[in-house]
Subunit: 391 residues, 2 copies
């Protein structure tokens, strides 16, 4: 069976890869287009007469804001806007205050205010909850505040400069949003959704592969690819990526099948449990590798283990599909008792033939059975969560 | 014992937290100082006469480059410098070419070159190996190229503008490096080193806590804090942070006890194995939670398990300490046989009393013993790596 299941994985991977690559190319072309559009502010005389040198800020905005995912672009753009307005406003106030003082006090007030605001904003940036969503905004706040308050010393018309820059930043933002959201958008929410559904499939595959390898009796152990476990490991390490995607997905407006209040937090919870499951499957690996496990005794376990394995794999796939299609998990009611009886059956296999299994301190086998048992507990947990998700 | 071992953890955590907080405050003050320093370019008349409006670029550089870790600041600064020089150079060439063409062709050449370079650089940014180290440089390349080539249409003296901006960026960079590296520097390499040593300690603690909880016979199970497993999970999820720190550490110049070619890659490899170990310990948790485990039979296992547990914890602590102090793992020669004999002993406990253990399908216990056995395999692996590290 492993022979039959491997080619689909590979072709699947290749497909994913070309799809991934295509998306990258599209993204690159989009960035190029957005930059050419924003450069028109410079290139076309009538436009340039309107905005002047400030067109620079529009270009800068586009380069810095334009991200791969639509949600990331939106989040950065809004952060930049917010940071600029706040920083500009406070900067103008501080500049006005400094001008009131006048003389050498002017420079001192500017220096002190720069120090205080920069230090405070930097400290704020490092608070985890703010770092997660408003890191870039705080950065821009510091930058704008500093530029405005400092140039207030030289230029008289700080307000005009600030207003003009803000408007060009707005233009840059508008171009970004237009290109990012309306021309082949890449939604972080789609990516998160797909990656979640495929995680279930991956876990099912790697569990099947594990059982197959265990019961294939040494003969071809060497030429077995270890791909299964690298999938498990990548799921284990997926926390950071999931969190980033969830963060972007939250910024994304209503689109496609996702409503505005789609429960993205649930994904993180399920992700946590999938990672625990992956950790358990990874522990199975060590059972595979431990030596001196007589084949005759494996035979005893083969049938019930495979039955449980295929039931588990089926359950995982069903769960993944129901999440993918966003429908309620219909089979839920019938699956819990199924899993329970399978677990009891495995337990009875162990207790019926304890002496046989144990006769030469054969840890590997028992580890196997025990881990399947653990697996089932985790699957039950996942199942509960999947039922919670609803729709 | 768990009662005794918990207060140290907490006070340790609190200590870590205040230390962490202090470092944040110091960082904030450093950013403030650097910004005031760079603002002097604006505030002091003689300096301003030299640099003019370009002082803006110095401020921008400081705000954007100054990061928490010295290595991150260096990496961003060098990236920015490289990107600016490359982008500026190519931009000047493209601008000159466009001027050769002249007329309406001028604008077309500019537009086309912006599109091509922006798309190509964006695509390059998404290649993982480049993204890891040169992401920011590519961004700055796009920005500078675009600004230079576009303003080449309006301004005649592109070269002077480019040179002046580059020099102010250099000033900003110099201020950053000075403040970041010479005033209370926060080294990513130190952070990585400490976090690694403490990971060993954390694993030892959580394994001890796990065994304690298992053999504390239900009575106080409810009021047992689950802190142990959150530590394990944080180790499991540490891959991203470790990679980032390693990346920064590589940029950091020779300092303190780390040479220029300190083997940071080894840390990643050991980290991988520690994560596997954490996954195994996490699986122990499920054993704790599975019900119906008669206390009398736990008693049988208590002594050998605790012996193995303390041996493992001791080994982990020794390993952590030897990494922390960067000395060769002296005990290595004596520990491998110790672990082996402990494993054999555990195995014999299992095989001596199989029927007793098995009589009512008591999976939990066996899982326990098996997982300790797995643990030992992983510890052996870690040990090998630790020996490899050498000093």
């Amino acid at each position: 069976l492993i022979k039959f299941s491997l080619p689909p994985i590979f072709s699947n991977l290749r497909e994913k890869k070309t799809k991934h690559d295509l998306r990258r190319v599209i993204h690159s072309v989009k960035v190029g287009t957005a930059l050419v559009l924003v450069s028109l502010l410079y290139l076309l005389d009538p436009l340039f007469r309107q905005v002047g040198e400030n067109a620079m800020w529009a270009i800068m905005t586009v380069v810095v804001i334009f991200e791969f995912y639509a949600g990331a672009t939106l989040s950065k753009g809004l952060n930049r806007g917010l940071g600029t307005i706040l920083g500009g406003g406070l900067g103008c106030l501080a500049a006005a205050l400094a001008q009131e003082v006048g003389g050498i006090g002017n420079a001192i007030v500017v220096g002190v205010s720069v120090f205080i605001f920069a230090a405070a904003a930097t400290y704020t940036r490092m608070i985890p909850s703010i770092k997660k969503r408003y890191d870039y905004g705080a950065l821009i706040f510091i930058l704008t505040f500093n530029l405005v308050v400092v140039s207030g010393i030289r230029a008289e018309e700080v307000m005009t400069v600030a207003r003009e820059r803000l408007s060009t930043i707005g233009m840059g933002f508008a171009i970004c949003i237009f290109v990012s959201l309306f021309v082949f958008p890449v939604w972080a929410s789609d990516e998160l959704h797909h990656s979640f559904a495929s995680k279930f499939e991956d876990l099912a595959l790697s569990m099947e592969g594990c059982l197959e390898e265990y019961f294939s009796f040494m003969s071809e152990k060497e030429n077995q690819p270890k791909a299964n476990f690298s999938i498990c490991k990548s799921i284990l390490n997926s926390k950071f990526k999931d969190e980033a995607l969830t963060n972007f997905a939250k910024w994304e407006p209503w689109h496609g099948k996702f409503g505005l209040y789609y429960p993205w937090e649930k994904y993180l919870q399920i992700g946590e449990q999938l990672r625990e499951l992956a950790a358990t499957i990874l522990s199975l690996k060590t059972c595979l590798q431990s030596p001196k496990q007589p084949t005759t005794q494996r035979e005893t376990l083969k049938e019930p283990c495979e039955a449980v394995g295929s039931l588990l794999a089926w359950t995982l796939r069903e769960l993944g599909e129901s999440i993918f299609k966003m429908r309620r998990f219909h089979a839920g009611a019938s699956i819990v008792p199924n899993l329970k009886s399978a677990r009891l059956e495995l337990g009875s296999v162990l207790s019926l033939s304890p002496s046989k299994l144990m006769e030469n301190g054969d840890h590997g086998l028992i580890a196997m059975a025990t881990l399947v048992f653990l697996l089932m507990e985790v699957v039950e947990k996942v199942e509960k969560v999947a039922k919670e998700v609803e729709q």
